[in-house]
Symmetry: C2
Subunit: 237 residues, 2 copies
Amino acid sequence: MPERSGGRLCSRVTAELGGRIVAGEYVPDQVLPTEADLCSIFGVSRTTVREAVKRLHGKGLIEGEPRKGTRVLPTARWNQFDAELLSWRMQRGVTAEIVDQLYEVRDCFEPRACALAAVQGGPSDKVQIQAHFHVLADTSLTTEQRVAADLKFHLAIFAATGNLFLISLGSAIRTALQLSFTLSQRRSPMSQTEQALHGHICRAILRGEAEASERYMRRLLKVSHRAVRRALAARTP
Amino acid sequence: MPERSGGRLCSRVTAELGGRIVAGEYVPDQVLPTEADLCSIFGVSRTTVREAVKRLHGKGLIEGEPRKGTRVLPTARWNQFDAELLSWRMQRGVTAEIVDQLYEVRDCFEPRACALAAVQGGPSDKVQIQAHFHVLADTSLTTEQRVAADLKFHLAIFAATGNLFLISLGSAIRTALQLSFTLSQRRSPMSQTEQALHGHICRAILRGEAEASERYMRRLLKVSHRAVRRALAARTP
DNA sequence: CACCGCCATTTGTATGATAATTGACGACGC
DNA sequence: GCGTCGTCAATTATCATACAAATGGCGGTG
């Protein structure tokens, strides 16, 4: 029985059940114990189980039909960009595969987001980006604080695009990155190269230079990806 | 009382409430009637309301705390790529803004997905892509059937990448495109240009030509975007 | 052997009650 | 007068129970 404290009971059950599903304990198509069984498994009432199940249904993980039971949906129907789902996946082991796929995705849209921010971002958006960069460059802060600033820097770029989809995508990425940084041993202070690239990106966006910001972001992602992979590889063996 | 038939009661309430939120009837931060009020508004029991609320919670639309009530979260925390959420947004009016942002995102991902499919896709993946293209090219079928094949063609490309995030993205896009096609008056038979571009993409992927497939997909998206915009503009005035 | 109808199982919905959380207000002491 | 503390009330969270609806299987019957 997971007696992890904090948070609502329903949330804990949701996380437990969701975690087991993403861990492959219950595989797509069919399965999942009946609600009554889940009650005894988790030691909670049917109401609570049901609400957890509904939350997972809302994320596209499962689907229920009377008499036939509640079955796990194929992974293609899961909302892989859901922040909670991502966090469950990464807490059950940050594999190189997840990280690689994540950077693949980031490489698709972050450079473009830079270009959009440079062209379409308003002055207030750009000031935000700059502000977060300044925190990032402040060497007197703790690593943790600078990691937070790093995330906010990237989120501010998304916000500047004004594209709801990209903004939402940013939130998901935020969760993933935060975990990948934290779990992969809070990599040593950001390299000089990454530091410098952040600066280049920031300035390019402020000046409205779309292509330059795009290029710099591509390079940053390449460098960052390598760093995360190294940190990950150094942990597992 | 929305007496729309079909589907479970809980699903209807979820769609109604979710629809009202995305329509801006309840704005972010604060508000939302108490559960008891929602019961009388929708004419259902508290159990049902609660399960609908939990589903929306799972999508990141709302958050509840005892005594403080249930409040709408800022749009940045919504899972914009959730298929249901997208469908609610588009059913309440497919604005040019949504379509534009959607194509912006597609332009980020789909060309890259083509390149990945060309390089990393296995033989069976590629056969699938080809099969859907052949349906698409069959002029003897109904428009509806070919629209379906069009969607499947794009989904097959995502599937061939093997990247879970991209595959999930495809599902969301699928919903959006289906609606945008349907609502925007099922545009006249796909233009010759689009037809030809699908063929170019298909062949380039089968041959493993990453850059070529990427280029063709970019052109297809450009053409398709214009077509949808035209269809949309012709409907509203 | 084939067809029909009843029964058991499982999710869906309803109802009522109790716990837990937290904001608001008022009483008390300094 | 002012601050601190306790009580109250409102609202979600959780529990227990019951009934409805759907569906697959089982057994009865011709």
